[in-house]
Amino acid sequence: MAVSEASLDPSVVPAEKAAGTTKKPRRRSVFLRRPFFSLALLVALGFVVCAVFAPYIAPYDPTVQSIEAMMQPPGGAHLLGTDSFGKDILSRIIFGARYALTIGVFAVLIGACGGLVLGVAAGLSTGWLEWALMRLIDSILALPSLILAIAVIAILGQGVDKVILAVGISLVGPFSRTVRSDVLQVKAQLFIEAAHLMSIPRLTVIRRHILPNVFFPLLVQITVRISEAILVSSSLSFLGIGVSPPTPDWGLMIAEGRGFVSFAPWMSGMPGMALAILLVALAIVGDAVREEFDPKMKRAQ
């Protein structure tokens, strides 16, 4: 490797050219090189657009009931059918995207902030403080995120804001664990010792050298974990302890359709499909982002 690297060097001009030509196509063709990523990104953006412009896109009011239009199969006036109260499923799915994405994004942000603080503190501290922080993280991690979210809901009560908080808290554990391992990894690197050698104050080293190197992997984690947050929040609604019934939430819709699944499968199937498509799209986007940001994976290409 040393030979190939150094062989670029002696005359600097060819090295310039080589670097220039390898860099340009990479910047241009992220979307062309990763067709699945582009497709998944479009799908995810579609959900975002639905969420933002829900009142303009949805053909019906998601909460209006109608006895005439009860349990209609997909097609006709109601594209994805209606549920047992005659509410339009397509409209409810479009409005449901709002709740899913809001809960997903904000819960992950809460989890990431908590995880960043806890993880950096645990990674930088030593002695009994590190021990205490690690036991705290371990205790959060000991419970599966759904169980932890249920426990928090049991304390706080129901509602969208409580669900966000519950799911966010349940994500603090995994986030802080990855942040801490990143901090430990960065802390041991030579450029930190070099900064120490320059007598740069400890806090400046943390701000200037450690945090940026921890922050980018964290951004990748955020994109990957949004789908987990959505799944947990939908599970809460499905169990009937998330958001309360008239709200057009996907988990809730799946739960409502459960009793009619043998003769009106679209009632559960449609929101289930929407959930699955969004989760798969987010997972593909997250993977692609991780691969693009990770310098080790990039080099392997």
Binding site: E5, A6, D9, V12, L190, E193, M198, P212
Partner: protein, 376 residues
């Protein structure tokens, strides 16, 4: 942990040595007085038992680095070169003995003010790892400039460009990240960063090893030029005798945590007094000649040191009294010291018959290839 600003005016008269001028110029920059660095290692000793033993990475090292000197520190892997460096830089505290910078313990000087950090710059062996991957080249070089307040923010761009030119890099490299640079370019950036603080002492750990020959030559010329122009004190760790002779006027050869021979590079390399120096010298490949006498065996573990002279197990000239007591570093000739009971005589040990002795001088051409050929 006093702030540098408050510490400086409160300095006692004894600290006047820090100031440039009167007594400071003849005082050695670095002094190691019988420095010992021990590490405790534990290893299994039977079932569920561990025994703790202490390992001496440095054992009674004496070294004086005068202002303006250029010293090469040579030795096999595991001889304690890097530990010596860490002690010098204040990254490791000596277990015994003293490490002094301008007559004061390194640790105190470091804690007291930023002067030490500014005057002593380090070039790491792994240049890429010593640069923050999330910073651009210009940010990396600007960091010491701004940290030591060497120029205002508006002048930084200019200074960075000047430093890049100085190490022979094009200015447009400033916006790149280290990952986009080649091995040789990264070393230059590391050198530029070290020079940014306007140091008086440059410590380099294998700064040119593992590079291809032409890049190595460029960097050596660069360092040599810098040494001459800026009057740098240079401490160069290397295992390449050719590099040592090209760049450094003095050489210190280490073996198992001890310095076994010191002296002017030419004299030591052309007529080694210690059998180990001779072995190193002979193990270096030469043009058109087979490697005559490779040194047999591995360096012994510092955990189980042989009794007497540490080199006795591998020494071709070993005698009975070598195994009984350890030799100390003693003067043998002008400016030369050696730790050997039976030092080799310069006439007795011709390094290679075809080599003309007076050829090894620092006047040897500016091309490093030539220097390496003559000396290695």
């Amino acid at each position: 942990m006093t702030k540098p600003g408050t510490a400086a005016p409160a300095a006692s008269p004894a600290q006047g040595t820090n100031a440039p001028g009167t007594g400071a110029s003849d005082r050695p920059v670095f002094e190691l007085l019988d420095v010992e660095k021990r590490f405790t290692v534990s290893r299994p000793a039977g079932f569920l038992k561990r025994e703790k033993r202490s390992l001496a990475a440095l054992d009674g090292v004496r070294l004086t680095v005068r202002r303006g000197a250029s010293i090469a520190l040579v030795g096999e892997s595991g001889s304690g070169k890097s530990t010596l460096l860490r002690v010098l830089l204040g990254l490791a505290e000596p277990s015994d003995g003293k490490a002094l910078y301008l007559g004061q313990p390194v640790k105190e000087v470091r804690a007291k003010s930023r002067d030490f950090a500014r005057s002593v710059a380090m070039i790491y062996q792994d240049a890429r790892a010593s640069l923050d991957p999330r910073m651009t080249v210009s940010a990396l070089i600007a960091e010491p400039l701004l940290h030591f307040g060497l120029c205002g923010r508006e002048a930084v761009g200019e200074r960075v460009a000047a430093l890049l030119t100085r190490v022979g890099l094009p200015a447009e490299i400033a916006g790149r990240y280290p990952a986009a640079l080649s091995g040789g370019q990264v070393r230059r950036v590391a050198i530029a960063r070290a020079l940014a603080a306007e140091p008086t002492v440059l410590i380099a750990d294998e700064a040119v090893s593992g590079l291809d020959v032409s890049t190595q030559a460029q960097l050596l010329n660069l360092l040599r030029g810098l040494k001459r122009e800026m009057g740098l004190t240079l401490l160069f760790i290397t295992h390449d005798l050719g590099v040592a002779s090209y760049l450094c006027e003095e050489i210190a050869i280490m073996y198992l945590g001890r310095i076994v021979e010191t002296g002017p590079t030419d004299a030591v390399l052309s007529a080694p007094a210690h059998p180990y120096s001779l072995a190193l010298r002979r193990a270096a490949p030469e043009f058109f000649a087979p490697i005559t006498d490779p040194l047999e065996g591995e360096i012994p573990s510092p955990l189980d040191l042989p009794p007497g002279c540490r080199f006795a197990t591998r020494c071709p000239f070993v005698e009975d009294d070598c195994r009984s007591a350890e030799p100390i570093l003693a003067p043998v000739a002008r400016g030369r010291t050696v730790a050997c009971r039976h030092p080799l005589n310069a006439e007795d040990s011709p390094v290679s018959p075809q080599m003309p002795a007076p050829a090894v001088t620092h006047a040897v051409g500016s091309r490093p290839g030539e220097g390496a050929e003559v000396s290695a």
